[in-house]
C-alpha cells in the first residue's frame, strides 16, 4: 500500500514511516503543506495522513482541494487542538477519520490500516469469513463451523466491525466510535466487558481461538495459524 504522511514533526514522522514500512507499506513523507499539496496532486496513494497545522499551508485546505478535484483517497486528519468541533471541522472538510495529538502510535497505525481497507476497491462484501466463522450481513446472522451463534444487535455490529478489519488491530476507541458513535472514553473499560462476552460466544469450547487481545493496543480477529 502507498501511504503519504504529511507531518512537520520529524520525530513522529520518522517513527510512523518506520512502523508502516515494517508493516509492509510503501511510505512517503512530506514535511510541510506545500510539499504535501504537491505530492497529493502528482501521485496517487492508498491513504494520506494529514497534520492539520503545517508550515506554509493548512492541512484542511489541502484535503478540501483534493475533494474538490474529485480525489477520494482516504485521509486521516491529525490535530493538536482536539476539541469536539475540530473533529467536526476535519470531517466536514473531507477527512475520513480524525485523531487528536498526542496520540498512541498503535492507535494511528490501526486507523491507517482500517482506512486503507475501507478504500480497497471491489465488490461490497455481504459475507465476512474468518477461519470457520461466517457473518452474513444481509441475514444478520453468524455461525461458526456451521453452528449458529446467537448475537444481540450490538454484539453483531461489534463482530461485523472486527471482521471487516480482520487481521488488523482494532483499538477500543475505534470500537467506541464505530459501534457506539461515542467520541469520548468512558473511565471504565466497558469495551473489555463487551469483548469478553463476544469472545465467550465465538471462541468458547473452540480449539482455535479467533478473537485476540493485543496488549496495550486493542483487539484483533484473525485466521488461526495453520
Amino acid at each position: 500500500m502507498r501511504i503519504l504522511i504529511v507531518e512537520d514533526d520529524r520525530e513522529a514522522a520518522s517513527y510512523l514511516v518506520k512502523a508502516l514500512k515494517e508493516a509492509g507499506h510503501v511510505v512517503e513523507h512530506a514535511a510541510d503543506g506545500e510539499e504535501g499539496a504537491h505530492a497529493v496532486s502528482t501521485s496517487t496513494y492508498d491513504v494520506v495522513v494529514m497534520d492539520r497545522m503545517l508550515p506554509k499551508r493548512d492541512g484542511l485546505s489541502i484535503v478540501l482541494e483534493m475533494r474538490t478535484r474529485g480525489d477520494v483517497t482516504p485521509v486521516l486528519v491529525l490535530s493538536a487542538l482536539g476539541q469536539v468541533d475540530d473533529r467536526v471541522d476535519g470531517l466536514r472538510a473531507g477527512g475520513d477519520d480524525y485523531l487528536t495529538k498526542p496520540y498512541a502510535f498503535t492507535e494511528l497505525l490501526a486507523r491507517v490500516e482500517a482506512l486503507a481497507r475501507r478504500a480497497r476497491p471491489g465488490e461490497v462484501e455481504t459475507t465476512y469469513r474468518v477461519g470457520d466463522l461466517v457473518l452474513d450481513r444481509l441475514a444478520h446472522s453468524a455461525d461458526r463451523g456451521g453452528e449458529e451463534i446467537v448475537l444481540q444487535p450490538r454484539e453483531f455490529r461489534l463482530l461485523e466491525y472486527l471482521m471487516k478489519n480482520a487481521g488488523q488491530v482494532v483499538t477500543r476507541t475505534m470500537l467506541l466510535e464505530n459501534v457506539w458513535d461515542y467520541h469520548f472514553d468512558p473511565q471504565t473499560n466497558v469495551i473489555d466487558v463487551h469483548m469478553s462476552r463476544l469472545r465467550a460466544k465465538i471462541d468458547k469450547g473452540q480449539a482455535k481461538p479467533l478473537l485476540h487481545t493485543v496488549r496495550g493496543a486493542g483487539y484483533m480477529i484473525r485466521e488461526p495459524a495453520k
Binding site: W180, F184, T188
Partner: protein
Amino acid sequence: MNPPLGPSPATPAETATPAADGIGARLLRLSRMTAVRLSLLYFVVFTLFSVFLVVLVSHDAARIMSDQLHEAIDADVTNLEEQYHAGGLMRMLVTLDELGRRPDAGLFYVVDTAGNPIAGNVAELPPAAIADTDDAPHPLDYVRFENGREVGRLALVRTIVLDNGFRVLVGRDLGERDRFRAVVRRAFRAIVVMMILLGGATWLFLSRRVMRRIDQVSATSSRLVAGDLSGRLPVTGSGDEFDRLAVSLNSMLARIAELMGGVKSVSDAIAHDLKTPLTRLRNRAEAALNDPDPAAAHTALEAVIDESNALIRTFDALLMISRVEAGAALSNVAEIDLEALAEEVVDLYEPVAEEAGGTLELVECYQKYVVKGNRELIAQALVNLVDNALKYGRRDGAAPDVKIWIEQNAETVTLSVMDDGPGVPEADRARIFERFTRLEASRNAPGSGLGLALVAAVVRLHKGEIAVEDLAPGLMVSMRLPK
C-alpha cells in the same frame, strides 16, 4: 511664648514626599498629585465664576446709575426750561438757585451771550465747556467749593441755549459712580484672596483626608501584587464612599483568595493523584529493566503501557472538563431524544452491571423527552453517572442495582441515576462535584475523581441544575436540563 503653630500648607506635600527627594522631584510629584490638580481646577473655576458674577452685577448697576443720572439731568433741564417759559429768566434763576441749594444738588452754571457767568454753584468753567449745546450728557472736569476749598471733580453735564442767547449747563456729580467702582474693585480683590484661601483649603482637605485613604488602597494593592493575599483595605466605619469601596474591594479580595485556594487545591490534587501512578509506572519500568527474564520484561512493559493509558485517560478527562468549562457557547446543539440516549448508555453499560451480578435499567418512558444540547456531552455525563453508580452505589458485597429515570415538567427534563448504595454523607454532597474528590469510602476503588466534575461542567454548560438526593437507601443524582 509663641502660640502653637497650625498646619502649614506645605505639610501634605512633605508627608507625601520622602525627604530624600530633591526640590524639583518634589515639585514634579506635587504637580502629579490629584489633590493639587483638583484644588487648582476648583480655584480657577470658582474664580472665573465669581469674577463673571461681579462683572455682570457691577456692569448692570453702573448702567442703572448712569441711566438715573441721565434722567435727573433731563428732569432738571425740563424743569428749568418750563420755568423760563413761564416766568422768564429771573424765575428760572430763582428755581435754579433753589435746586442748587438742595443736599443732593446737581451742577448749575449760567452764562450770558458774552460768556460771562451770571449764576451757578460751581467755580468758573472754561468757555469751551459750555460752547456746545447737545442733547446727550457728556463728562466734564470741574472745580467745586467744598468747606471753603476748591476740589477738582468730574461731572456728567448737558448744555442748553435759551432763546435770549444765554447758555445753561446742568450736570450731576459722578463721585457716586466712582465710589461704586471702588467698591467693585475691592470686591474683586476680596474674591481673589478668598479663592486662593478656598483652593488651599480644598488642597489641604483632599490631600490629607482623601488622598491618604487612596494611598492606603494603593499600598494594599502593592502588597497584593507582591503575593500577600491576606491584605485588606481599612474600613473606618464612617460609611462614606471610601468605606463602600473598601468593603466591595475586600469582598473581591476574599473571592480571589478563595478561587486561588481552589486552583491551588486542584493543582495539589493533580500533583498528588498523578504522582502515584507515575511512581508506579517508574517502578515497573525499573523492575522490567532489572529482570533477566525477557518474557517477564515484556509483561512488565505491557503493564507500563496499560498504566500510561490510565494516566492519559485522566488527562483527557481533565482537558475535557476545561474545554466544557471554557465553552461559553455550546457547539453542535441538536434536539436530543433522551430516551434513545439513555437506551444507548444502558446498552453500553448493561454487561458491566451484569458482570458485577447487578442490574442496570431505564425505567420505562411513556412520553418523549427532548432537550436541546450536545449529544456527546450529555451522553458522557450520563455515562459518568452510571459508571459512578455501578462502582460506588453498592453495599458491601451486594450487587449494584442502578436505574435511570426520566421525567419532565413544562420547562425542564430531569435525567436521574439512582442506586441502592450507601449514599453520600450530607457534608460531602457539594464536594463530590469538585475535581479529584475521592470520598473515603471509595478511596480504594479505581477512578480518577473526575467523573462528577465533568457531569457538573456539562450541566452548567447546558444551563441546567444538578441535584443530589438521599433515597435512604441509595443515592439519586439528577441532571435537570432546560428544554
